[in-house]
Subunit: 411 residues, 4 copies
């Protein structure tokens, strides 16, 4: 039994790849397509329109094809309202719930297309009718409440995958799957600085995601300066980053030997645990700053300059610090709030925390990923940000050079 | 002002490296040593004894040197009892508490050397006098209770770092810092199988730490078989491993296309979320097995064969499953319990979970680390297990070949 | 001054990406395009045709755009003969010579399209009129002879980049930029075995490119068996692979200790040098086989079964063996000959030698890249083979499992 | 049949590890040892002396043990002259020739210990009696001439492995097996600059080994400046580095787009081939500088400032340039000459060329290895330099920061 459905695509769908991917999806999943209308964009600024009939050998196959087409920007042609079904229980979604992408998404409710607020991947879509106009929100599975009106199926949903920008030249690459080690490092750092200045000029929010390597490799002082000078609006990290930063403040020199220049692997690990116990003793980082136990570094500047931070716990943590959120769901919620606020996210030398933040980001948020490991940068860029810069470099030279670039004018 | 103290070492300290490391520690930290007595082990089975006087220019410097010497097996010569101090508050240790290694450790209490139960690194040592004989336990910082008698300083503590085994030939390397990619894979797998058989024959406990790559790369069926046949006594993993294993059971084939042979990156990610919602709907993995929703795979075999498992949460999780412990401290405690029971730990393709488990292990537990990334294997071996095999291989060929090796006899 | 030119594309150009890339090229390089005709392929088997006018602000800019369009399959519309210019000297090409891709290429000579024999990237195209019909060949720069008729400019050249195959299901991915670690290893090995059988059935040529890791990790015996059983038609390697293979034969056991099971880093390196001197003493590998100094292993089976091999030298070699070609250009020529003959190339655990072979391959040759390092596999796949399988696995388990798969029937 | 021999060790053999390694060697290879005399160094500056009798069950086993002991600094106690045997043919060594380490080595000839000139690993030792006093030289196998007096066996040979320096604080680590990513990058760069200044002040020779990443990542201009200002005395690289450097000079900007800021993967690869053909047309780099075709960059500064360079060929080269030495043995000889002259070697972002240079270096030459890939740095450090700094960083930020550090004073 052949079943079929008509879908439409519109936009810069050829050079953005959506059209090719949609043809590919149908062929990969064993279906057939028949283009009914195709109106090519004849020049750079003209959009292309395609209407095609997709057929498959079973309703199940067709549903799977439509799901993938939808996620690549094709919309079921016949405009009907999305199907809504009430959640049967707390944290339980209806069986055929629509699972989201992180692209801008619209849901047809009562005959109108409603834009989904806070797009986030792998969520359910919940329609809220308690207000004057219906509102559609993303909700992660564990946040579903009994009775939530959840969107199911593929009807009445429109996804807008990112398009190739018409004017090139931006350093934020379009859906670049890999990462370049072929760009001059200094000029990339300039472009990132320009972007940070631009966000600051528009009162936007720069979220910095920090790994412990920033401290080890010598980027800490420069980062603290950036926080102090107002280039960082929020900070997201794990317990380890904060401990290393505080440890450098508490035990930065010892035995008359400057720890900046002499390294003892394992030796001195005791200071890590001692730092946790010292901060724990006074009740947390803010208390330690107030008690003047801590008088410098990144966390210090966050406290002094009211830059909010989230420290998320993990099963690998020592301690942890009193400030660390040990429950993963609670920590995710805190991260999600940061992610939604952010206009520009700098992911600095932490795969783990960056993945957590990246999971919550819409594809439209600008992202900069910096790591010495190319696999980390590739993995972060692959999560589908439409505007991302990946840079494989040493965080210990990157942060000082970035700070120089940004703070030079002041000096 | 020069201060000094006398320390002693005994054992196979030359070829195990302890003697050289102790000389190095003194020089690195700016001290001086004077060997007072040195009785070399004249042949393979004879132990070496060294007594030396260590001096430094301040009490602080000397304390730091003694701490490092202690961790490398040197004991302060003059046998006095360890210093004990009561913990001032919940989760707060006395200021100069002794921070542990993961080696066998003895504490001198009331004139006798008491062996520390459950050695674990980066813990405090707590003396419990409530029983007939004093007991010394490791406690992580967050488990410290007000009034706990905590060991401080370096006096009255003896650490026994691992020694080079006298008879070679074991595949479990002695403190091997790196990892070999120069060993024939098949013969290494045989040796691991031998070790698993030996542990089983002695009713020991094999703990398997599992990463999701086991499922992707095709090792899942073989691992499930090993669980079914009783070669796995406990399983430790993250939420992701369990979801992937269950997803393979629920959605292993779809659209008439065998997912074993055709891959769709991102496509089909929906099944991941759907699996979580299906398991959540019935209330957990055990319920899903009972309801016959799940009828195969690793988690299924764990349920059916009463193999206990710990699923630990992280901020990168989807869902999570109802079985996943989302609080990091609670999850660490569950992992710690598993780690203490284990006689042999197989760390299979998961850096993150393996580090968490490794943090809780004494240096005497045999460990096998398998990963396709040499950096992961090196990092895990570096944590100081005295008896570890590192193997850089494909988990998708490793598990089937290991199962073949172990189950062959049955066939 | 605006200059313009009309180009045409034809084929499955939307889902193969050529159309999108061509639009992108024009925009990236600052040009404009105007689609004059666009005839979309309405279903899976229908081809798309596009004619567009491309304009730029200078002749230089237009030339650069046309070069890139040409390499992506667009042909200058107005069919004129290619421009030919005589090489001014040995190894010297005319200034604006056309630099090749590795795709099937056609050159218009005397009004007819002549297919280029042995497409290879980064070569010049030389038209040979000494025969009845003109012949067009690729020539590397160092092979250019004075007076060679070299193609210059972009006119009269047609490139056919690979197209997405219409029937899916082949394990040879279409231009896959990355590599999958998500495929079950065992099923991928089956597919590779199937392909090898298919090539053998058609009397095709399987070229195996070998790295020394095959020997270290225990894949040597299985590879020797594949050579003996006729599954390998040619072998390409460096000096190191051959030395390791021969060393295993000459010094495989020593001191009563089986080197299969006990490893001594650095220790035993002497055997490496000794092997070279022993083979050198008799004058080469073939002589060593005849003198029965060597009686097993991969090189032995090559000699015994008349499987031709190329051993290429490098500045990192010990020795080298008398068989090793130490001149890079001479070695490249030998490799090129092997590459042109091959129907299927297996690149086994050697980035360096594989890149050298890959440089000489047309994009239509099927390629299998196996390495434990994902970056190696990605880099090899990126060279633009239209039909490639990349597999991140342990060569020490891969070769034995592949041999099992292929030789099973015999047993 | 038990055979035995007495060996001696002297020096800082405990903390340098030689003593422990020697005990280990005997046990690993199935022998027994009996310490006859042991005189421990009682303080930091006192040396330890050990005499021990080593026994094995066969002459072959004993020979293998003695070989390994010798390479770790133990000398056969009974001082006899080394055994010499004439080479039977060109490039053919006597059967039991002594294969060298890269440590300082002494050979007993006519009753006197003669220091080996130019220690290099994996060579034969050849005694030259044509001069007044006997001279002992290292020779690679392919340089052996018929009749050369080659040292065989283990008698009369003394090796001095590196010792742990008595005064710490140098940034050049002692035999560090791994690499630190825990050192602040800026302070490491300062230390490297200090070392370069020190070598320059003593009229020493700095050899820089260069990979193409220097050009891609933006370190080229700074390196060219260092050459111009006299901080580089010799340069070693492959064909690729030179081509990329020259290409940047010839085609640095094109189409009005600064290549410093916009990247086109593959696009523009044509410039690579064009650069080779342009340089080839005039006959080489020096000619291109004289003809003012090339007027900047690293190779330009080498020509202008008489800094000698070696460009070695490989089978992966395009072209190559006329300056490139395509024969591997000839290229090795040129590299060997550079290596022997060098007081300090900087290995910048090239594993391949660095291994070739490192193969020729004595263990006493100071070495700095810089690469973004930790595995590369580890592999280079593992080759046994006694004084090496490894740094995992971005060459595109490293070279500019190093140049700033060195050239600042001038500005």
């Amino acid at each position: 039994m052949t079943v079929m459905r008509t879908v439409e695509l519109e936009g810069h769908i050829i050079d953005s790849g959506a059209m090719g991917r949609c043809f590919g999806v149908v062929m990969d999943l064993g279906g057939e397509f028949e283009v009914e209308e195709f109106d090519v964009g004849r020049h750079k600024h003209a959009e292309t329109y395609c209407r095609m009939r997709v057929s498959a050998e079973s309703a199940d196959d067709l549903r799977a094809i439509l799901h993938e087409l939808n996620q690549n920007g094709a919309t079921v042609a016949d405009p009907r309202d999305a199907t809504l079904e009430a959640a049967p229980d707390e944290q339980v979604v209806p069986a055929e719930f629509y699972s989201t992408t992180n692209h801008p998404t619209f849901v047809r409710v009562d005959g109108s297309w409603v834009e989904v607020s806070d797009p986030e991947m792998d969520c359910a879509l919940v329609v809220d009718r308690t207000e004057d106009d219906p509102v559609v929100r993303t909700k992660v599975l564990n946040a579903i409440e009994k009775g939530d009106l959840v969107v199911t199926g593929e009807t009445g949903i429109r996804v807008e995958p990112p398009e190739r920008p018409r004017n090139g030249g931006s350093s934020f690459g379009f859906m670049q799957g890999g990462v370049s080690s072929e760009r001059p490092s200094a000029s990339l750092i300039e472009e990132i600085a320009d972007e940070m200045r631009a966000v600051r000029d528009e009162d936007g929010t720069v979220l910095v995601v920090c790994g412990p390597a920033i401290v080890h490799s010598g980027g800490r002082d420069a980062l603290a300066e950036l926080v102090r000078e107002g280039y960082v609006d929020a900070l997201s990290a794990g317990n380890g980053f904060a401990v290393h930063d505080l440890e450098r403040n508490l035990y930065g020199t010892s035995l008359g030997v400057d720890t900046e220049s002499l390294e003892h692997p394992r030796k001195g690990h005791k200071h890590h645990i001692y730092t946790i116990s010292e901060i724990g003793r006074v009740g947390g980082i803010e208390a330690a700053v107030e008690a003047e136990i801590v008088d410098g570094g990144v966390m210090y500047q966050c406290i002094r300059n009211d830059v909010p931070y989230v420290l998320a716990g993990s099963i690998r943590d020592d301690g942890p610090l009193p400030d660390t959120i040990t429950d993963a769901i609670e920590a995710q919620d805190a991260i999600r709030e940061q992610a939604r606020e952010a206009d520009l996210v700098l992911m600095l030398s932490t795969l783990l925390h960056s993945v957590a933040v990246g999971n919550c980001l819409p594809s439209t948020t600008k992202t900069v990923c910096v790591d010495i490991n190319p696999a980390t940068v590739t993995q972060l860029l692959d999560r589908g940000s439409a505007q991302a810069i990946g840079m494989v470099t040493d965080i210990g030279t990157f942060v000082p050079m970035l700070a120089d670039e940004l703070l030079e004018a002041h000096r």
